[in-house]
């Protein structure tokens, strides 16, 4: 294992801004694993740390295949994590909306460029990502439909779902999209949580990544993903929305199977404790996403369901 600084900027009053990478094995650029790029993505850093520990051991045991190199970058934005701010400290821009980056541009464009120059030539790119909505997810691999997406490869993670997603205008500036444009097979892996550490789904993600690297003949590792992945398109997800705002009382969580008519959650009047609405499942299916905050705004998609079939 070699620890190195991938990119750095000098600051006026803070320690240098540093993006740190961990390299394992040597030779062709086989796989790159990217963790958090936003200040609230703790789980994404945590999963990377577990992979660093595991790969260090595997490397010592000689189980990284000859001629293959793996790079892990646990965090592309320590400044925001350390100040508990989601986006860039001074101008609130999102590094994951700045790819492929620009070395002569603004700060976050430079950071995106500094990272991308290091990671764009890897054959496979895996990013631990998060949604903008606060909530829990069923573990899934997301892949963006650019014409270069490789769905068969995505199944090799052995996670329950492979979600194929049509890019929206702003997606064209994400890492995942640009990795694909630069001919990397790119995958976004979602574990259950973001700003809370969920050790169970982190362990599942570690196993999925190691299983994937093994199937790609980068690692010599016995563990494999546990699922025959089901492929679903993101537009087939069913959004369940609240008609009212108020306190959100969750009955069913992410990863649970529900039947049509099952109660999912209640919205309660914050002043009188009256139930404003009980929402029920419109279909038989799997809860892919469940809202996790106490407050819910009107019309928020508090659940996303994958219908059975």
């Amino acid at each position: 294992m070699r620890r190195e600084t991938i990119y750095e900027i000098k600051s006026l009053y803070r320690d240098d801004f540093r993006v740190t990478g961990f390299r394992f094995g040597s030779g062709e650029k086989a796989a790159c694993i990217m963790g958090s790029m936003r200040g609230n993505e703790y789980q994404q850093i945590y999963v990377c740390s577990q992979l660093v520990r595991k790969l260090k051991k595997l490397e010592e045991q000689g189980r990284i295949r000859a001629g293959k190199e793996i790079l892990i970058i646990p965090c592309g934005n320590p400044y925001s994590v350390n100040t508990k701010k989601r986006f860039w400290t001074i101008d609130n821009t999102d590094i994951n909306r700045m790819f492929p980056g620009y070395d002569l541009g603004e700060t976050t464009q430079r950071i995106a460029d500094g990272i991308f120059q290091e990671i764009k030539d890897y054959a496979c790119g895996i990013q631990f990502a998060s949604f903008y909505m606060p909530g829990d997810f069923v573990p899934q691999v997301r892949i963006m439909k650019t014409g270069k997406e490789n769905i068969e490869l995505a199944k090799k993670f052995g996670l329950p779902y492979v979600v194929v997603h049509d890019p929206r205008p702003f997606d064209t500036a994400t890492l995942n999209y640009n990795w694909q444009v630069w001919d990397t097979d790119a995958f976004s892996v979602y574990t259950t949580s973001t700003s809370a550490i969920d050790t169970k789904s982190a362990a599942q993600a570690v196993n999925a990544v190691l299983g994937f690297l093994s199937k790609q003949e980068i690692l010599d590792y016995a563990g494999f993903g546990e699922y025959e992945s089901r492929v679903v398109a993101s537009h087939d997800f069913i959004n369940v929305r609240m008609d009212y705002a108020g306190f959100f009382e969750r009955i069913v969580g992410a990863g649970e199977r529900v039947e049509e008519g099952d109660s999912l959650a209640r919205i309660v009047d914050p002043y009188t404790a009256t139930v404003r609405q009980t929402i029920t499942s419109p279909v038989d299916g799997m809860v892919a996403f469940a809202h996790s905050e106490a407050l819910a705004y009107q019309n928020t998609a508090v659940y996303k369901l994958i219908p059975e079939g």
């Binding site: 006026l12 903008y132 306190f247 009107q298």
Partner: protein, 324 residues
């Protein structure tokens, strides 16, 4: 003249509050209408999509005040939308607080979507039938801008003639980019509602002189459209930059992090090598870098907020230009 304030979108918030997006409409009395066709012609003055950009607040106020001075001159409809993002204005935040979303990346919205997508969709729906719309921004809190209109190259043929009649100093036609497809202006122009994006002044402040200048321009646009038949001030001729290839402008970025001490004001003509300001380190008391003009031109944007990171935008200079 008839005036009314109309709610265009409304949602309930979790704890004892309603969020309303409203507009103020000014229109002639049916009895006093001179031409029926023009009585239905509408101009929309929109601002506050970015909650910390306040230059448009004065424009909304001043426009209504001047119309009321000679209400009989109003021949069509003026819709004033001062606060598209009321949460942002209340919280001194560019985006939508609680969601950390840039409202200007949500359009055209979605009627069946979440609260913010719904509001965006209702705003677009309300704009249907508008002849001409101005979306007034104030750069951001970091930069000061001369009054200017920015136009996506896709809409240049339709919009440049309007922009030239707006009394701004600069019309900047820029290249198309996919990420801009979710802006308010793109969504409206895409639907055939002519929409000009104004950038002027600086975030968190009101520059009265620029507001007055733009209001003069709005009256000229209204007169051209037949919405107003009163006197209008003489218009200034803007510099027009057709910069689709992004070659007309020098972008100056900070080579180091530090505190910027500005020496030149926006709107200055500069010569190659002129010092715009210095980036200093107050800890050591030393100059870290001098920001100099890479060529001759017009400094139309300059850094206002003193704290800079490596890469922060320090200014923009329009290269010498003959076309007007």
């Amino acid at each position: 003249m008839i005036e009314e304030t109309i709610t265009i979108a409304q949602v309930n918030l979790p704890v004892d509050e309603e969020l309303k997006i409203a507009k103020h409409r000014m229109r002639p009395d049916v009895g006093s209408v001179k031409k029926l066709e023009e009585a239905h012609k509408r101009i929309g003055i929109v601002t506050g999509i970015h909650g910390d950009e306040l230059e448009g607040q004065y424009v909304c106020y001043e426009l209504a005040r001047r119309i009321r001075e000679t209400p009989e001159r109003l021949c069509g409809i003026v819709d004033i939308y001062p606060a598209m993002n009321p949460f942002g204005i209340d919280n001194i935040t560019r985006g939508i607080p609680a969601f950390d979303l840039d409202m200007n990346r949500l359009f055209p919205g979605n009627q069946d979507g979440d609260m913010n997508e719904y509001i965006a969709a209702e705003i677009i729906r309300d704009m249907e039938g508008t002849f001409l719309c101005l979306d007034i921004h104030a750069s951001n809190i970091f930069l000061t801008e001369v009054p200017q209109i920015r136009i996506n190259e896709l809409h240049r043929d339709i919009l440049v003639p309007f922009a030239k009649r707006s009394n701004v100093d600069l019309v900047w036609v820029h290249g198309a980019s996919t990420v801009l497809e979710s802006t308010f202006a793109y969504s409206l122009n895409d639907r055939g509602i002519h929409t000009l994006v104004v950038e002027m002044g600086v975030g968190m402040r009101i520059t009265r002189e620029y507001g007055d200048q733009l209001v003069d321009g709005i009256f000229a646009l209204m007169k051209d459209a037949g919405i107003w038949d009163g006197e209008v001030a003489p218009m200034r001729e803007p510099v027009v930059s057709y910069d689709e290839q992004a070659e007309d402008v020098y972008y100056l970025n900070a080579p180091v992090s530090g505190v910027f001490i500005k020496q030149m004001e926006h709107g200055s003509m500069v010569k190659e090598g002129d010092v715009l300001g210095q980036i200093v380190d107050p800890m050591s008391g030393k100059v870290l870098s001098e920001i100099t003009a890479p060529g001759d031109g017009w400094l139309f944007t300059v850094r206002e907020y003193p704290v800079v990171d490596e890469g922060s935008l320090m200014g923009r200079i329009l290269k010498p230009h003959t076309e007007t």
